[in-house]
Amino acid sequence: MAATHALPPAPPLQRPRVLVVGSAFASAAAVMIFVGLIGIYLAERANAIAAGEKWLPSEISIPLQQPNTILFTLLMSVVTMAWAVQAVANNDKVNSYLALGVTAVFGFSTIVMTTYLWSLMGADVAANTQSVLLYTITGAHMVMTILAIIFVGLMAFRALAGGFSARQHDGITAAALFWYAMVAVYALIWITIYVTK
C-alpha cells in the first residue's frame, strides 16, 4: 500500500546579499584594469627581449626589499581583514574596531613604502616607456589602495554606529572583498614587475 509523506515546507529563497554582489562586480572591474595594464607591460617586455634588447634601462634599479615589505604587509592585512569580518560575525565590537584600524594602518604603510620605492627606483616618468608603465601601474595600485582604505574606514564608522551585527554585516564583507582584490593585484604586480623585472 502506497504511503504519503507530509514534507516540511520549503525554506524561503535565500537572496544573495546586495552589497556583497555589487562589491564583487566592482572588485572584478578593478582587477581587470590591472590585467589590462600588466598585460601591456608583459607584451612590451616580451617584444623588447625578443628584439635582443634589455628591458629595464640601466638607470632604473628596482630593489626587492621594499616590494617584499609591501607584500608581507599586505598579506598581514589580509589576516587582519579576515579577523575583522570574524569579529563582526561574533558581535565582538572591540576586536572589530581593532582589526579594522590595524588593516587601515597596514594600508597606509603600503602607500608610504610605495612612495619610498619610487624615490629609490631612479625612474623618470618623462624618460622612457618603461617608466611610463611602471608609474601608471604602481600609481593606479596606490589609488586602489586609497579607495580600499576609504571603504574600510567607512565600514568602520558604520560599525561604530552600530550598523552591523552578527546576522547582518554585509558592509564589512564587501569591504573585505575589495581589500582582498587589492592585495591580489599587488601580488600580481610584485611577481611580474618587481621580481621578474
Binding site: 524561503p12 529563497l13 546586495v18 552589497l19 581587470m32 584594469i33 589590462g36 616607456t129
Partner: protein, 523 residues
C-alpha cells in the same frame, strides 16, 4: 528592518510635487527613483544618438571624391569621436537606461540596487559626456592637436567608462540580488538575463579600455617619452573597442529585449527557454574582445582563436533567430512596431556577424583597410539601436501610462532597416575593393549610400525620441497595455507608483502573469 544599502526609493519628491520647471529639475537632480533615472538615461542617449549618427554621416560623406569635404584633422575627429561616442554616449547608456527602468520591475523589486550610486552614475556620465563633446569639438579628441584639450578628452573617456560601469553594477546587482522569491535565474525574464551577461562582459572589458586610456594619458601628459601618447598611435590602441569581437558586446542586451518582445507579442510562452538563455550567454562570451588588441600584438587577427570566435558567434545568432521564429509560428504575428523593430534588429545583427566571419578569411584581404570594419560597426550599432528602439516602444506605455504613437514606430521600422543596411553594407562591399578592382570605381556611390544610411539612423534615433515624447498625448493604458504580458513588469500599474509593487505572490514559472491568468497552463 534589515540593514542593507538598498533602501526603498529615495527622492526629494514624487509626481505630486509642484509642477514648476525649476521644481521638477531640482527633483530630477536629487532623485534616486530608478524610473526617473531610466527615462533620463534614455532621453540623453537618444539626443546624443541623433548627433552621433549625423557626425558619422558627415564622415562618410567626406569619403566621396578626394575627401576634402572637411579637413584631415576634422575627419579624424569625426571618425574617432563619432565611433567612441556612439558606443559610450549612445548604445551602452540607452541599454542602461532601459535596464535601470525595467529590470527592477521585471524581477519584482521595489527599487534599483544602490539608488544613490545609480543617480551618481547618471550625472557623472552626463558631465563626462559634455566634457567629451567639448574636447572633441576643440581638436582634443583622440589623436587631436591641442595638448590640454586631448588630456581633458582622455579624462572624459575615463569618466564615461567609470560612470557606465557604476550604472552597470547597479543594474546587474538588481537582477541578481533583488529578485522576488521564486524567480530563480532560470526563470528570469530574457532582458534581465541579457543585462546580467551583457553587464558582466562590460565589467570585464570596459576596465581594459580605462587601462589603455590611462596609459595614453600618462604618456601624453609627461611629454610622450614612449609611443602611447603619440597622436598617430592613440586611436590604434583603442580601436579594438569598435572592432570585432568587442563590438558585439554592446548588442547583448538587445537580444534580451527582442526575446521578451517576441514572446509577449506572439502571445505564447517561449519554448525551449534554455536555448534562448544559452544563445544570449554564448553570444556574450564570444564578444569578449579586450584581449584582441592589434596595437600590442599585430598578428592577433591571424590567430586561430580570433578566427574561431568570428565564426562561432554566428551560431548563437542563428539559434536565437530559430527560437524567435518558432515562437512566432506558434503564436500570432502582431503588426506592432516593437516586433517589427525587433525583427530588423535580428536581421541587421545576422548581417553583421556574417560580415565578421568573412573578415577573418585571409584570401579575401578585407583587413587591408579600415573601411570594412567601419561597415561592420555600423551594422552592429544599427542592430543595437533598432533593438533599443523596440524596447522603448515596447515599454513606453509602462513608463508613461499612455500609448505611444505606433505610427511613428512603424515608420521607424523602415527608417532603421534602411539606415542600418545603408550605413553598413556599402562600406562592407567597399572593403572588398582591395580584392576586386572594379569596386574602386563605385567608391563614391558607396560612400554616399553610407552617408545616407547614417543620416537615416540619426532620423531613427529622433523618431524613437519623438515616439517616447508622443506618449504625452496618447490614451491612458492599463497595467498590461499589450494584453499578453507575461513577466512581472506588466503586473504593476502604468506608470508604476513609488515602490512599484504591493505584495507579490511567489513566482512559480518564467511567465507568472500567464500562470495567474490560467493556472491550468502553469508549467
Amino acid at each position: 528592518m534589515a540593514m542593507t544599502d538598498t533602501r526603498p526609493e529615495s527622492g526629494t519628491g514624487d509626481a505630486t510635487a509642484a509642477d514648476t520647471g525649476v521644481a521638477h529639475t531640482v527633483n530630477l537632480l536629487g532623485t534616486g527613483d530608478h524610473k526617473a533615472l531610466g527615462i533620463t538615461w534614455i532621453v540623453f542617449s537618444l539626443v546624443f544618438g541623433v548627433a552621433g549618427w549625423i557626425v558619422t554621416a558627415i564622415w562618410s560623406a567626406n569619403g566621396v571624391g578626394d575627401g576634402d569635404l572637411v579637413s584631415a584633422d576634422a575627419a579624424r575627429t569625426l571618425f574617432t569621436g563619432g565611433h567612441l561616442g556612439l558606443v559610450l554616449l549612445v548604445i551602452i547608456p540607452l541599454f542602461l537606461g532601459l535596464a535601470t527602468y525595467v529590470v527592477p520591475l521585471q524581477v519584482g523589486a521595489n527599487t534599483v540596487a544602490f539608488p544613490r550610486a545609480a543617480a551618481a552614475a547618471l550625472w557623472a556620465w552626463v558631465l563626462s559626456a559634455g566634457v567629451f563633446i567639448v574636447a572633441n569639438a576643440i581638436d582634443g579628441g583622440i589623436g587631436g592637436g591641442r595638448e590640454k584639450a586631448v588630456s581633458i578628452g582622455l579624462l572624459a573617456i575615463i569618466g564615461l567608462a567609470f560612470a557606465l560601469m557604476l550604472a552597470t553594477v547597479c543594474a546587474v546587482t538588481t537582477a541578481i540580488a533583488l529578485r522576488t522569491p521564486g524567480l530563480s535565474l532560470d526563470r528570469a525574464p530574457f532582458f534581465s538575463w541579457a543585462t546580467i551577461v551583457g553587464g558582466a562582459i562590460w565589467m570585464l572589458t570596459l576596465p581594459v579600455l580605462v587601462a589603455n586610456v590611462l596609459l595614453i594619458y600618462v604618456d601624453h601628459r609627461y611629454g610622450r617619452p614612449s609611443d602611447y601618447g603619440v597622436p598617430a598611435a592613440q586611436w590604434q590602441q583603442l580601436s579594438w573597442v569598435v572592432g570585432q569581437p568587442q563590438v558585439y558586446a554592446f548588442a547583448v542586451p538587445g537580444l534580451g529585449i527582442i526575446s521578451d518582445i517576441v514572446a509577449t507579442l506572439a502571445g505564447v510562452r517561449q519554448r525551449n527557454r534554455g536555448l534562448v538563455y544559452v544563445g544570449i550567454g554564448g553570444f556574450a562570451i564570444l564578444s569578449v574582445g579586450a584581449w584582441a588588441q592589434p596595437y600590442f600584438y599585430d598578428k592577433v587577427e591571424d590567430e586561430a582563436v580570433y578566427a574561431g570566435m568570428a565564426f562561432l558567434i554566428v551560431l548563437p545568432v542563428l539559434l536565437l533567430l530559430a527560437a524567435w521564429g518558432t515562437t512566432l509560428r506558434a503564436g500570432k504575428l502582431s503588426a506592432k512596431s516593437p516586433l517589427g523593430l525587433s525583427l530588423i534588429s535580428g536581421l541587421l545583427l545576422l548581417l553583421a556577424v556574417v560580415a565578421g566571419a568573412l573578415y577573418v578569411i585571409t584570401p579575401l584581404e578585407l583587413r587591408e583597410t579600415d573601411v570594412y570594419g567601419a561597415g561592420q560597426f555600423a551594422l552592429v550599432l544599427g542592430a543595437a539601436l533598432a533593438a533599443a528602439s523596440a524596447g522603448v516602444m515596447y515599454w513606453a506605455p509602462k513608463m508613461t501610462g499612455r500609448e505611444a504613437a505606433d505610427g511613428l514606430g512603424k515608420l521607424n521600422v523602415l527608417v532603421l532597416l534602411g539606415g542600418g543596411a545603408l550605413a553598413g553594407l556599402p562600406l562592407v562591399v567597399l572593403g572588398f575593393a582591395t580584392k576586386f578592382d572594379g569596386l574602386e570605381d563605385a567608391a563614391d556611390a558607396l560612400w554616399v549610400l553610407s552617408a545616407v544610411g547614417a543620416a537615416l539612423l540619426a532620423l531613427g534615433a529622433l523618431l524613437t525620441l519623438l515616439a517616447l515624447v508622443s506618449t504625452g498625448r496618447g490614451a491612458s493604458v492599463e497595467a498590461d497595455p499589450w494584453g499578453t504580458g507575461q513577466t512581472l513588469e506588466w503586473a504593476c500599474p502604468s506608470p508604476p507608483p513609488a515602490g512599484n509593487f504591493g505584495e507579490l505572490a511567489v513566482v512559480r514559472s518564467p511567465e507568472p502573469l500567464l500562470d495567474a491568468a490560467d493556472p491550468a497552463e502553469e508549467a
